[in-house]
């Protein structure tokens, strides 16, 4: 009896969908062909005749591939943005910021670096920074599992740091405009130290967890894909 899944996989090779969608399409079409084949067998046809008749129900494989691609492309674009980027990013952001809030309330005091003659300080919540690699790893896993590309996965991993960067870029200029009594040099130093403490260091911590998980998962899925061909 024909291996319908293998046959459909070969005929639809090059279908540009994410892994999960690709698997689902192959499973669905091969199930259809298998049932058609079994129906012909029940009608008393020989195995090879039934297989030929079942294949005759496909039409043109190239047209099928092109149409599936076109039908799934728009849907794919919309849903993939949500499942590969927005949901993992939001989960990561909420977990990271929730933990920070808890540690600020119940945890040890932050490590503060101050320079004499300068009001701006550099502060680190060390326990929070230590949890960030785990959060980065979780972000990479969630995004990669949904079929995210490397760019999407790393945007998701860095999302908490990027959100804080956005906040800095918005809040500080507004603070300068609203309160004209603040010395612009203090604001500039505070901005640089803030970016360093709240964006660059957390981003590095997130990447420490996210990068190995991404590398591991992409290697794993590539070898699985090759084995499945």
């Amino acid at each position: 009896m024909a291996d319908w899944q293998e046959l459909v996989r070969q005929e639809l090779a090059g279908l540009a969908l994410d892994l999960q969608q690709n698997r689902e399409v192959i499973e669905e079409l091969s199930a259809h062909l298998e049932e058609t084949f079994e129906q012909f067998r029940r009608e008393g046809r020989t195995e090879s005749e039934s297989a030929q008749l079942a294949l005759g129900q496909v039409g043109d494989w190239m047209i099928l591939r092109r149409r599936i691609q076109a039908a799934r492309a728009k849907e794919h674009l919309m849903t993939s943005r949500i499942t590969q980027f927005w949901i993992p990013s939001m989960v990561t952001f909420v977990v990271a910021e929730g933990l920070l809030g808890l540690l600020q309330k119940f945890g040890p005091k932050p490590m503060i670096f101050a320079w004499s003659g300068n009001l701006a300080v550099l502060q680190f919540y060390v326990p929070w920074l230590l949890t960030l690699p785990l959060i980065g790893a979780m972000a990479a896993y969630l995004s990669h599992r949904s079929g995210g590309t490397s760019r999407v996965v790393f945007s998701t991993v860095l999302f908490p740091a990027l959100a804080i960067l956005g906040l800095f870029l918005f809040v500080l200029p507004v603070a300068l405009i609203v309160d004209r009594h603040i010395d612009p040099s203090i604001v500039a130093t505070g901005f640089i130290l803030g970016i360093l403490g709240w964006v660059f260091v957390p981003a590095a911590a997130l990447l420490i967890g996210g990068l190995p998980v991404y590398l591991f998962l992409s290697r794993h899925s590539t070898s699985r894909h090759i084995a499945g061909q």
């Binding site: 199930a31 259809h32 062909l33 496909v58 039409g59 099928l64 076109a70 799934r72 728009k74």
Partner: protein, 110 residues
Amino acid sequence: MIGSGIKRGTAELAVLSVLQDGPLHGYELARRIEQQTEGALRFTLAALYPMLYRMEQQRWIRGSWETSANGRRRRCYRLTPAGKKKLSPLRREWAELFRALHRLTKVAHG
């Protein structure tokens, strides 16, 4: 020659009408349509599945994986509220078109 728009319209009407009776997977759906139209409407896979995916994208139908009693996984399609809403005007439009064509052929042969 029947245009692709008309062909697509009849195929969509057929799918929505059959799914009104209950959820079906692709193979059953194609078979049911073929049986109920006495072979007048037959779908190749190249016609059926892209159409199902497009209709799913338009939220007229919804597909979900189900495991049958014999342990086979099948993707079953069911009509959504939006699909139900789409069905009645679609039926009306097609009925009007067939009535018009019927009148036209009667005049032509009368």
